[in-house]
Symmetry: C2
Subunit: 206 residues, 2 copies
């Protein structure tokens, strides 16, 4: 019985592990997260986490998965709010996506970098990402109906849009991009360019 608060059972260690892990990642990056360290911070023994996650990778998958859920909710909230035109709403979602990444860089990195995850099958993580994709596909279909963007395979278009915002987010986070002016400016221009490419063309290019 070495728990800080004198209890033998923690109460809800599983949830505590997830939130504490997320906190540690936010503080010092995923590399700073160690199973023993998190156990120490929670006043619990080294092996306790193993009662809730088969290994470290599984815990990380859990944290990453929660990140996808949060990101999804955030995009949903943009979709709910109603800016002017409907294409503009789509563009705003892209902006919000990048902002989320910039606000939670280490978490975002974990979500996409399987580097730290040694397990072969990460179905849970892929499911979370797929949910996000489905959300995006729905919005694109709606935009196609309203004539905002080209009528092509919406899934392909979703991949393209996702690639654009993810790429921008990723390069910004890693510090590869150091924009001359405001970051928001770059984000806006990027989403505009993307949208221009997805829009219905008046005349085919020569």
């Amino acid at each position: 019985m070495s728990s800080q608060d004198g209890r033998y059972h923690h109460g809800d260690l599983r949830a505590a592990l997830l939130t504490e892990a997320a906190a540690m990642i936010a503080e010092g990056g995923a590399a700073s997260l160690t199973l023993r360290g998190i156990a120490r911070r929670l006043g619990v023994s080294r092996a306790a986490p193993y009662r809730h996650f088969p290994d470290k990778s599984a815990l990380l998958v859990g944290v990453a998965s929660a990140g996808f859920a949060r990101l999804g909710e955030r995009l949903q909230s943009i979709e709910a709010g109603a800016p002017r035109s409907s294409v503009e709403r789509f563009r705003r979602m892209g902006e919000e996506y990048v902002r989320f990444a910039l606000e939670n860089p280490a978490h975002y990195r974990l979500m996409y970098g399987k580097e730290a995850l040694t397990r072969e099958d990460i179905p849970e993580l892929h499911a979370s990402a797929d949910a996000l994709l489905a959300q995006l596909v729905d919005v694109i279909k709606a935009q196609q109906r309203s004539g905002g963007i080209k009528r092509q395979d919406p899934r392909t278009q979703a991949y393209i849009a996702w690639s654009t915002v993810h790429g921008l987010a990723s390069l910004l986070i890693e510090g590869q991009i150091q924009p001359a002016g405001e970051v928001d400016d770059l984000i806006r221009k990027t989403t505009r360019t993307l949208l221009d490419g997805m829009r219905v063309r008046r005349r085919p290019a020569p």
Copy 2:
């Protein structure tokens, strides 16, 4: 004297470390690369690498940097070859970028994921990436002059293009994107959409 070949001095251990590290990363991912492991494979003692790199992170930076150089050369070769129109050449560079990533997934991941790199300052790595960016800016300026794409801040446009191809490459590598048809198809469509967005618009969108 425990060297496999009986020599006390290796000859060019620094270069051997870099190439062997790249090979190990290609085989089993960056996570599988361990300083002791690479030393073992080179028939050298654990501490030998420390005579050439201050720590593991420095070795990884070296490998990643070499990756940027190789990628740069590859894009250069596309620029040298002369496809039909000049905009098409630009697009082809984007395709080639993604292909490079798909052919060297683990290496590419290392180049962009600072996850594994604990050091604060990675000037060498940023310099390598900046060289790539400069290359891209040059091409964009040329395309602007020939009227292929909009006349805007070329650096910003380079960021946008880079984001698009990097995002696509990244999502493909991580398995987040599972295209319905051929991968090449998706790559082509993505670069086309990007280019459409960067092209000079005949009429402003309503």
